[in-house]
C-alpha cells in the first residue's frame, strides 16, 4: 500500500512542479463560464436557472483537457514500464494515477465552481449542494477519464478522440449531479440522486483502473 501512496505522491509532486496543467484547466473553466453570459445574454434569471448545468458541463470539459496527460509522459519516457515491473499491479498503478489526477485537477475545479457560481447568479441555497455533488461526482470523472487516457495513448489526435470516447460515459454522473442540485432547489428528495451519484463514483473507481490497466497492458507488450 505504501508503494501506492508513494506513486500518488510522486504524481502530485510532478503535477505541482511541472506547473501549467492546473492553471490551464482552471483558466479554461473560468473562460468557458465567462463566455456563456456573453453568448446567451445577461438575463440573470436565465443564468441562475442554468447555472448548475453550465458549471457541471464546463467542469467536465476542463477535466478532459488534462486527462491526456495522465499516462502520456510516463508512457513516452518509459517510466510506465519501470513501474509495471515493480511490486504494484498495473490496476493499482492506473488507480494511483487517476487518484492523483482527481486530487490535482478535479478537486481544484470543484472548489472553483462556487466562485464561478457568483458570476452566474446561482441561488445561495444551492452552493453547498453544488460543491458536494462535484466532490462526490468527480472521482467518476477522473477514473472513467483514465480509461479514455489509456485507450488513446498510441492514437493519432488523441486529445480530440478522448472527448468522443469519454463524454458519453460521463452522462450518468452529469445527470445525477444536476438532479441532486435541482432537488435541493425544488421539492424533491435530495438523498436519492446523491446516493446514486456516490454509487456511480464508487463503481467507476473499480471499473476505471481495471479497464485502463487492460488497455495499458496491450500497449506495453
Amino acid at each position: 500500500m505504501s508503494a501506492f501512496f508513494t506513486l500518488v505522491a510522486r504524481d502530485l509532486k510532478l503535477a505541482v512542479r511541472q506547473g501549467g496543467a492546473l492553471g490551464t484547466a482552471l483558466g479554461f473553466y473560468l473562460i468557458v463560464v465567462a463566455m456563456l453570459p456573453l453568448g446567451l445574454g445577461a438575463d440573470l434569471n436565465l443564468l441562475s436557472r442554468i447555472a448548475p448545468g453550465v458549471l457541471w458541463i464546463a467542469l467536465l470539459l476542463s477535466a478532459l483537457l488534462s486527462l491526456g496527460r495522465v499516462f502520456e509522459s510516463d508512457f513516452e519516457d518509459g517510466s510506465l514500464d519501470v513501474l509495471a515491473t515493480g511490486p504494484l499491479p498495473l490496476e493499482l498503478i492506473a488507480a494511483a494515477k487517476a487518484l492523483a489526477h482527481w486530487i490535482s485537477t478535479s478537486v481544484p475545479l470543484a472548489l472553483l465552481a462556487p466562485v464561478l457560481g457568483i458570476l452566474l447568479n446561482l441561488k445561495l441555497v444551492a452552493y453547498p449542494m453544488l460543491v458536494a455533488t462535484m466532490l462526490i461526482g468527480t472521482p467518476a470523472v477522473s477514473f472513467i477519464g483514465a480509461i479514455g487516457a489509456a485507450l488513446t495513448l498510441r492514437a493519432r489526435r488523441g486529445g480530440l478522440l478522448i472527448a468522443l470516447l469519454v463524454l458519453p460515459l460521463y452522462v450518468p454522473t452529469l445527470v445525477f449531479g444536476i438532479a441532486a442540485i435541482s432537488a435541493m432547489l425544488g421539492p424533491d428528495d435530495v438523498a436519492a440522486p446523491l446516493l446514486i451519484l456516490t454509487a456511480i463514483s464508487l463503481g467507476a473507481t473499480v471499473l476505471g483502473p481495471v479497464a485502463a490497466a487492460a488497455a495499458l497492458r496491450t500497449q506495453m507488450q
Binding site: L151, A155, L161, L164, P168, V171, P172, A211, T218
Partner: protein, 254 residues
C-alpha cells in the same frame, strides 16, 4: 470433434461457408422484408390516433432492435477476441460497428420523422431518445478509436476493451436518463404478460423484425468477407514489398 466456432476460426473455411450461405441469406432477407412491407402497407390498419403516419413504426422499431442487438454482438465479439483470441472475432466486431451505427441512425431518423406529426417536434430530450443517441455516440467512438490507431492488432484489442466498457455503462446510462419523464411510449412488445398491441399490427412488426435480422446477418457476413479479403490483399502487398526490397538488396550486392 471440433465445435462450430472452432471450425469457423479458420478464415478459409469461413470464406467457403459464407460464400455458399450469403446469396441465400440475402434472398431470404429481401423476401421477408418485401412480405413485411406488404403487410405493413396493405394489411395493417392505420392507427386510430396517428393515421397512416404510424406505419413508420414498421421501420423504426426493427431498426431500434437491431441497433441494440448489434451492440450486443460487438460486445460478444470483443469478449471472444480478448478471452479466446478467436481470429474472426475482431473481423466480426469491426464489420458490425458501422452497420450498428447505421441502424441506430435509422432508428433516430425515422423516430424524428415520426415525432414531428405525433408529438409536434422532431426532437425531445426524452429518456429513450437520449439513450439511443448516446448508443450512437458509443458506435462512433468505437469506429473513431479503431481508425486512429495505426497498428491493427493493437487497435482491435483497444476497441474491444472500449466495447466492453460500453456494455457495462449502457444500462447505467439508460437508467440515468430514465430518471426524467418520458414522452416515448413504453415498450409494448417485449414485456411480461405478453405484448399489449393487437395482432394486426404485431404480426407485420414481427415479420419486419425478422426481415431486419436476416438483413443484418447478410450485411454482416458480406462486411466480414470484405474485411478478410482486405487483410489478405494487405498481406500480399506487404509480401510483395518485402520481395522487391530483397531483390534490390541482392542486386546491389552483386
Amino acid at each position: 470433434m471440433q465445435s462450430i466456432t472452432q471450425r469457423l476460426a479458420n478464415p478459409t473455411q469461413f470464406m467457403r461457408l459464407s460464400a455458399r450461405l450469403l446469396p441465400w441469406v440475402a434472398a431470404l432477407a429481401a423476401a421477408i422484408i418485401a412480405y413485411g412491407l406488404y403487410l405493413a402497407f396493405f394489411v395493417a390498419p392505420p392507427d386510430y390516433l396517428h393515421g397512416e403516419i404510424a406505419r413508420i413504426m414498421f421501420i423504426h422499431v426493427p431498426s431500434a432492435w437491431m441497433a441494440m442487438a448489434c451492440y450486443a454482438l460487438i460486445a460478444v465479439s470483443a469478449f471472444g477476441l480478448l478471452v479466446f483470441r478467436h481470429p474472426l472475432a475482431d473481423v466480426s466486431a469491426k464489420a458490425a460497428a458501422p452497420i450498428g451505427a447505421a441502424f441506430t441512425f435509422l432508428a433516430l431518423f425515422t423516430g424524428s420523422l415520426w415525432g414531428k406529426p405525433a408529438w409536434g417536434t422532431y426532437w425531445v430530450w426524452d429518456a429513450r431518445l437520449t439513450s439511443v443517441l448516446i448508443l450512437f455516440f458509443l458506435y462512433l467512438g468505437l469506429i473513431a478509436l479503431r481508425s486512429s490507431i495505426e497498428d491493427e492488432t493493437l487497435a482491435s484489442k483497444l476497441t474491444a476493451i472500449l466495447a466492453l466498457v460500453g456494455i457495462v455503462m449502457l444500462p447505467i446510462i439508460k437508467f440515468s436518463v430514465d430518471w426524467g419523464n418520458t414522452l416515448h411510449q413504453p415498450s409494448s412488445v417485449l414485456k411480461l404478460g405478453g405484448p399489449t398491441i393487437h395482432s394486426s399490427i404485431l404480426t407485420p412488426l414481427l415479420v419486419m423484425g425478422a426481415g431486419f435480422l436476416v438483413l443484418f446477418i447478410a450485411m454482416h457476413l458480406k462486411a466480414m468477407r470484405n474485411e478478410i479479403l482486405r487483410r489478405r490483399v494487405k498481406a500480399l502487398q506487404l509480401a510483395e514489398v518485402a520481395r522487391v526490397q530483397a531483390g534490390q538488396v541482392t542486386a546491389a550486392a552483386e
